[in-house]
């Protein structure tokens, strides 16, 4: 059960959330978090707009509202770690590789994108930063991440694996097999479950007996923590402790972060496929739990940040978005002749 001193549970849209506790975190880190989250937010809003205007052809799954999770986790990672995502992974890749131009180019299908224009929004990779792939088969990358952790264990590299997945992904059998195997083989992997309470149109309550999933970690003797997914500091603290331990002694851990997506399951509408239990009112309540505003407010409150600084940051983000978008727009599509390239690496 998630409880917070008698207040409603985390997953309740009416949950009364506390101010962020930002004590003992370096100010530069807090500023980085703010910047990263703002960039990811603005990038996805740009993508939403372009999808609406028909500039983007393929489906886009936006994580607006969920930025804190990838940002908090990524701060602990190094380029040799091994990170895997799924269909809603813009934040996961940007968390470790802030190359906006590559993301924009990829969603536009340009050959300068993260996957050379061969993937689009649902297939992203950035090998040099340790982001080894995100794909849209639900739970598809979870066992791969376990294998990546196994490889680092065998290589004695101290590197770890990160598996980002959603609440829906915990319903695939292979998730459970992966947890068991990771535990019994002591594999250094952090499962990061972004529980946004929905799988497509279906609320958790229609799919599982509880609205949280950390019980699965407990069943497999994996240490777990349930966190407020809209609190970047709590996510950072939890992941940094788990990751510190994993690097010393290979073991799996699981973080469940409760959050909410502001857009519908796919593309730019708020209302499409919002499900049986999702109402406009819930959405508005969840927007009050905005991870970016909460951090900014807490910093202003502590007098380590000002409204003016926030304003400047917003301007800077706008410029970044604009410049990278324009650049990506002018890039080329892949060459028609490359259709059969890379089917095999050995040719």
């Amino acid at each position: 059960m998630i409880s917070d001193g008698g207040k409603k549970v985390l997953e309740d849209p009416n949950y009364i959330f506390a101010k962020l506790n930002i004590s003992q975190i370096e100010h530069s880190y807090l500023e980085d978090f703010l910047m990263s989250m703002s960039v990811i937010r603005a990038a996805e809003i740009k993508i939403a707009e372009a999808k609406k205007n028909g500039l983007i052809k393929g489906p886009v799954h936006l994580g607006v509202g969920q930025e804190a999770i990838a940002v908090g986790v990524s701060k602990n990672l190094r380029n040799t770690d091994r990170i895997f995502g799924a269909h809603r992974s813009h934040s996961h890749v940007l968390g470790v590789d802030n190359d906006l131009h590559k993301l924009f180019a990829e969603v536009l299908g340009k050959n300068t994108g993260f996957s050379s224009g061969m993937g689009g929004s649902m297939h992203l990779a950035s090998k040099s930063k340790g982001f080894l792939g995100s794909v849209p088969i639900v739970t598809g990358t979870v066992p791969l991440a376990v294998g990546a952790g196994l490889a680092s264990k065998l290589q004695k590299s101290g590197d770890i694996a990160i598996s980002y997945l959603g609440d829906g992904a915990t319903e695939e059998g292979v998730f459970h097999e992966s947890l068991n195997f990771a535990r019994v083989s002591n594999i250094p992997i952090l499962f990061v479950v972004e529980n946004n309470l929905f799988s497509s149109h279906m609320h958790m309550s229609l799919r599982q007996p509880l609205n949280t999933i950390n019980r699965f970690a407990k069943a497999h003797e994996i240490e777990t923590k349930l966190v407020d997914g809209n609190d970047v500091v709590e996510i950072y603290r939890t992941s940094s402790e788990f990751i510190r331990r994993m690097r010393l002694k290979p073991e799996p851990y699981l973080i469940e972060a409760i959050t909410y997506r502001w857009f519908g399951h796919v593309d730019w509408r708020e209302d499409i496929d919002v499900g049986v239990a999702r109402s406009k009112k819930d959405l508005l309540n969840w927007k009050k739990r905005d991870p970016i505003k909460r951090l900014s407010d807490a910093m202003i409150n502590k007098k380590i940040w000002t409204i003016e600084k926030q304003h400047n940051l917003d301007l800077k983000v706008d410029e970044l978005i604009h410049a990278n978008w324009e650049k990506a727009l002018h890039d080329d599509f892949p060459d028609r002749k490359s259709l059969l390239d890379n089917v095999y690496k050995y040719d």
Binding site: G109, M118, H123, E172, G173, S200, H201, L206, D273
Partner: protein, 327 residues
């Protein structure tokens, strides 16, 4: 007679089955969502209740296995996979279990499950959201594989599939959903009586398709007709077990064979059709070598630039026929 779309034809088959057979129930992802499977299951949950129309967790493997299990116990379940790619988690239940349940136990038991699997391609969805894997399943003895291409078959073959005492994979392609036709009243037809059907007569070349490629073949052949090429078009309808007899007669007449398939070339349905014909006709029958139009040997690309080159279409088929054959 009423004019119906392909997607409404599927919906009306569900309606017929649920109304007339209490042992029919449906499960799969998206069944409580009005948009998920393109109108083909719209409001069934409201009409027949959420006990018989079950929207499921994201658990293809368990849900398919459960459908197989229920089918062994007297029910007629239909498990719906909104995209064929997602069904790959369920391979064991389909290939190891359902396909063999009758054979392994000497016919004492059987698994009359229907697996509705949707081909959903294009729109830059890419490699994991575009596959047409019908040929794989056609390889497996014990599983019947049905691919309706016409509006009439979309309805009637779903009914035949569900009433069949064997496990059946019924594959519909979203690119067919907008087709319309006037439907005859429902008449239950045993699946064994369903054989390849001639959709257009001609005497110069036999073109064979299944699912969406039949529509392409038909449209292309109509255009070719005005150029003076008389093509005969066959729709496979059931690709396993595959009965080639009508097509054989056609090829003996036209002496040319072209197969169009929405899957890949290697070990695909096109190879199967060609082999079944060639091994049954005298050596010198064919004027031209048998040919096939399939996907290029690569996964579905995401890029719109490549997508245009990837999928067969009417123009490409017409060009292929004009380039490769002299009539």
């Amino acid at each position: 007679m009423i004019s119906t779309t392909y997607s409404d034809a599927i919906l009306s088959a569900f309606d017929y089955l649920l109304k007339n057979y209490p042992e029919v129930f449906v499960l799969g992802q998206g069944l409580w969502s009005p948009w998920y499977v393109g109108n083909t299951m719209k409001n069934l949950d409201k009409k027949y209740g959420k006990d018989r129309i079950i929207d499921t967790p994201v658990s293809e493997s368990a849900c398919t296995g459960a459908a197989v299990g229920a089918s062994i116990c007297g029910m007629k379940p239909i498990i719906v996979h909104p995209r064929m790619d997602f069904m790959l988690y369920a391979m064991d239940s389909i290939v190891n279990q359902a396909a063999k349940w009758s054979y392994m136990f000497g016919g004492q038991l059987n698994a009359p499950v229907t697996i509705r699997s949707i081909i959903n391609r294009g729109g830059s969805q890419g490699a994991q959201h575009s596959q047409a894997l019908h040929s794989w399943f056609a390889h497996i003895p014990g599983i019947r594989v049905v691919m309706p291409s016409t509006v009439q078959d979309a309805r009637d073959l779903l009914i035949s599939s569900v009433l069949c005492p064997d496990p059946v994979i019924y594959i519909d392609d979203r690119w067919l959903y907008e087709q319309t036709a006037d439907l005859k009243p429902i008449k239950e037809t045993p699946l064994n009586d369903v054989t390849p059907k001639c959709l257009k007569e001609g005497d110069q070349i036999t073109i064979v398709g299944s699912g969406y490629s039949t529509l392409l073949a038909l449209n292309a052949s109509k255009k070719l007709h005005s150029d003076g090429v008389r093509a005969e078009v066959f729709d496979l309808r059931v690709i396993n077990p595959f009965n080639s007899i009508n097509i054989l007669d056609s090829v003996l007449k036209t002496k040319r064979l072209l197969v169009i398939d929405s899957g890949w070339k290697s070990c695909g349905m096109a190879s199967e059709v060609i082999t079944s014909i060639v091994e049954n006709i005298p050596t010198n029958t064919l004027i031209d070598p048998p040919r096939r139009i399939t996907l290029p040997d690569c996964p579905a690309p995401s890029s719109e630039v490549h997508e245009k080159d990837y999928y067969p279409n009417e123009e490409k088929i017409i060009k292929f026929i004009n380039d490769e054959y002299y009539f």
